[in-house]
Amino acid sequence: MNIIGITINHKTAPIELREALHLSQNEITQIIPLLKDKLFSEGFVLSTCNRTEIFGFPKSHGVNFKNVQDLLKDFKPIEGINSNNFLNYFSCGAVKHIFKVASGIDSLVIGDSQILAQVKEAFQISEDMNFTSSLMRRISDSTIKVGRRAISETLIGEGAVTVSFAAIKVIEKVFASFEKRSALVIGAGETGELAAIHLKDLGIGKLTITNRTFSKAENLAEKLNADAIKFENFKDHLQHFDIIISATSSGEPIIYYDDIKAMMKKRKGALACLMDIAIPRDFDTKVKNIDGAFYYDIDSLKVIVDENMKLREKEIPNVEKIIMEEMVNLFGWYNTLEVVPTIKDFRDFFEHIRSDEMEKIKHKVSDDEFEKIDNMTRRMIGRILHNPTINLRKISETGTNFEEVAANTLILKELFGLTNNGKEQRENNDKN
């Protein structure tokens, strides 16, 4: 399989380069015609914030990795980029790399849940732009299968691996659902806004925003269909909130031990989650000692993230096993593409000789005898060809040894003169 490809990712280039080289969907639709025109008969382009990948089947023997790199660099000229920022792949290695990407084990965050959808989208764009045929379609199907199997059969995507997701996991371990809960987000800056959006997406029952500049709180509240309360008196309402997320840029704590103590007393033991995602912290850390209050800051949430990352790393061998299985399947199928026509030519070759010889004796024997000889020669040819056919098919279907398949096919073609289309060859033999 002569697929070739290049990648630039978090292992090969700093974030500035990756960001600069990132191709939007619009840019992908612009670069694909160039690739089609100059380099590949079929292929795909994947570009995310962490990687840009271009893979395809060369239109001619002259196409190499450098051509692909140059085309990308010409399309998106970036200062400071060089060939060391690219990794190049060919054939088996290329397919394996694509599978690794789709399964998430090549991602910056191992088991990244977004990547499979991004890979699917990349293949879909190629399909829409007629940049795929049967071979690339089969690679696309196998890639998506690998991604799905990795998720369903291993724990590669399990557990929270970002601080915000870890915070959600902790809250989910306290409350059965978000629908009946009320949350307060303190701080309407970028982090606070993200937290508020996240809570809204999770279906929080009641969301309230507070901020030193009240208008900012009001704006965010309006955007998210939430309530806003004044910063000066938000502490009077603390007992009404099951979840409090604080993300202000205050230089010193804004919520003290006594505030939470009073809040918990009014809640009569009802549990509360306090998420301090501000740096420096917004809560007095002593609040973690108060009964019923679950206080977490960024460091404590990172404990969850680190544990889950270790667990995901342990799952990599299981994902690699799936990748290997699917590579065997893919190359098994691919090998038969070469073998099946050869087998057909091989059988046609013998059949042609048989029918030719039968034609020669047709008028020398009776009809009964002719039929008997015809049947006997058919059986004979069938038995002679049985083992070579089965063995060649078997070698091809194992998938891993495609070099052996190619060698065997070539020997067969050369020995029996099947090289330049069996039919043509037979005609030459006939003339001789």
Partner: protein, 274 residues
């Protein structure tokens, strides 16, 4: 039938053990495949246990409540059965091992020492006594399960407070669900205990000439009942939540167990049949 009873007597502890192992394995490994399979194991165990209890009742002509080891097998059944119903109702599946463990201990003790008593005291053949004892057993199962969920709540609570996010954090249901499960089990236990107390109150004065309302067992049972009544009312009226109600519940359970042990083994009571 007697041979079947003897075979079941040997097989049932193993069935509980196998079910327990499946629940433990699923708790540790969290395999989706085992999620339903473990429920099937428990269901089969309970079906065979039901058959065993019915067989004993028919063969020996009395409900299996005439001695400690018969009571143990009824308790083992009642605990797992109550858990099974709770699992079906709430679909919280990760806590079975903590309940089935009790059933294993009780069933092993029962299977080892149970005898084929054919002759029993006349008083133990009473139908009212049967209902009284069985409702009491189910009631105690309810409050035991409630206490187990209470302990699980405290385990998870403690780990979350100390930033330990291991197996307990990953596999146990959330604190709100554990509190709810504990409360539902307590309510079921409380209702059944109330039925048992009411039936006992009606039947005991007629059945025992030396009956006294000041019997230590009656007083201690009444105190336990009052404690649970206060706890349930407090929770229902919204005056106590979270860890506080769990601690209250566990105190009630501890009181129930201590009073049961004291009145059974230490004090003199008419309320002792074995």
């Amino acid at each position: 039938m007697i041979d079947s009873i003897h075979i079941h007597n040997v097989v049932i502890p193993f069935l509980y053990l196998i079910t327990f192992v499946v629940y433990v394995y699923d708790f540790v490994k969290d395999k989706p495949m085992l999620n339903n399979a473990k429920r099937v194991f428990l269901f089969i165990t309970l079906i065979l246990h039901t058959f065993y209890l019915l067989s004993r009742t028919i063969e020996f002509d009395h409900p299996p409540i005439t001695n400690k080891f018969e009571i143990f097998t009824v308790l083992a059944f009642a605990l797992s059965f109550s858990y099974f119903i709770l699992e079906l109702l709430t679909d919280v599946r990760g806590t079975g091992l903590f309940i089935i463990a009790f059933s294993i201990v009780l069933q092993i003790a029962s299977s080892l020492f149970i005898e084929d008593l054919v002759e029993v005291k006349t008083i133990l053949r009473s139908n009212l006594l049967g209902i009284h004892v069985i409702s009491a057993m189910l009631g105690y199962s309810g409050i035991t399960i409630s206490a187990v969920y209470g302990i699980l709540f405290l385990m998870l609570y403690k780990r979350m407070k100390s930033n330990e996010f291991g197996l307990i954090f990953k596999r146990l249901p959330n604190l709100e669900s554990l509190e709810k499960l504990s409360f539902i089990a307590a309510i079921i236990g409380y209702v059944l205990l109330t039925i048992s107390i009411l039936i006992g109150g009606m039947w005991l004065p007629n059945a025992f000439p030396d009956f006294s309302y000041f019997d230590p067992k009656l007083i201690s049972t009444f105190i336990v009942w009052v404690v649970y009544t206060i706890g349930i009312i407090t929770k229902l009226t919204g005056n106590l939540y979270g860890k506080r109600i769990i601690v209250f519940n566990l105190s009630g359970f501890a009181l129930a167990i201590v009073s049961l042990i004291l009145t059974t083994f230490i004090t003199n009571t008419f309320h002792s049949f074995y």
